[in-house]
């Protein structure tokens, strides 16, 4: 367990209000992505609230075998599954069109070469890319427009930095499905950034 986590845990056990604020601010985003994948938008916030209460009840018994983040996300997945036994298996790989499309077959000629090559972006660091307030909003909107599982898998993988295997365990999906989902999501976000770089608009 990271030193920061140990310190935070001590303060939480002592009932320090600021420690709870830090905990919620740091981890609620990732927890919501897990809950969203399992119970959808309508119930995600309730599942996260359930999870927070379960976290408080189990703080004393937290053992540092896993990282604090992994522990919190496991509790979230369980809270979501316990409360809403919704069957989403059949729609797992359903796809939806994205506002700016994706990088699909139309971009390639019949011999598999680029027909319309990727446009060069104006910036070459993430910080420079994100200085545009509109692009930040546009990315958030695109993440929301993705199908439930695509969005969650992408957020957990790229935004939260989880390993694919960890995501599979939390969401109980196969590795091959996770790979398909993250790839589809990335191509759509790629198309969004490309569109923004080309037009300056979302």
């Amino acid at each position: 367990m990271a030193a920061d986590d140990t310190e935070l845990l001590k303060r939480l056990l002592a009932g320090e209000q600021q420690a709870f604020r830090e905990l919620v601010s740091t981890y609620q985003g990732a927890m919501r992505a897990v809950a969203y994948a399992i119970v959808g938008n309508r119930h995600a916030d309730e599942a996260v609230q359930d999870a927070w209460l379960a976290v408080v009840r189990n703080l004393v018994s937290f053992e540092s075998r896993s990282s604090l983040k992994t522990w919190l996300l496991t509790i979230t997945a369980n809270a979501a599954k316990n409360r809403y036994k919704q069957n989403r298996r059949e729609v797992l790989l359903d796809d939806l069109p994205s506002p700016h499309g994706t990088i699909d077959d139309d971009r390639f000629s019949s011999d598999g070469h680029w027909l319309l090559a990727p446009l060069a972006w104006h910036q070459d660091t993430p910080e420079a890319l994100l200085t545009e307030h509109e692009l930040r909003e546009c990315l958030e909107q695109t993440l929301l427009s993705l199908p439930q599982l695509q969005s969650s898998v992408l957020v957990l993988r790229d935004r939260q930095g989880l390993e694919l295997e960890e995501i599979c365990n939390l969401l109980q999906i196969s590795l091959s499905n996770a790979r398909v989902l993250v790839h589809r999501a990335r191509l759509k976000v790629f198309a969004t950034v490309e569109h923004f770089e080309e037009t300056g608009e979302c």
Binding site: S25, Q49, W52, L53, F108, D124, P126, L139, R159, G161
Partner: protein, 77 residues
């Protein structure tokens, strides 16, 4: 040799370390000769880094959540 379309189809697996050694070599061989796919990969990495950097909005229900948690903690002791 891979086509650009095949290259793009495998790009996420490449970035996530999900390809075999042989497949990775095929990918590297392709970009050696293909500036378009080189650019595509560079921008895919950039996009991933941007998502990681994207600031998270503070939780709207922060204070309420904290209050509930503290109440739960003191009630349980």
């Amino acid at each position: 040799m891979l086509t650009c379309k095949q290259y793009v189809a495998r790009s996420s697996d490449y970035l996530d370390g999900q390809l075999t050694f042989r497949q990775r070599l095929q990918m590297r061989h392709h970009v050696l000769f293909c500036p378009n796919c080189r650019r595509f990969t560079r921008q895919m990495r950039l996009m991933g880094a941007a998502l990681k950097t994207l600031p998270e909005p503070p939780p709207v229900d922060l204070e309420m959540t904290v209050k509930r948690m503290m109440r739960e903690q003191s009630g349980g002791q």
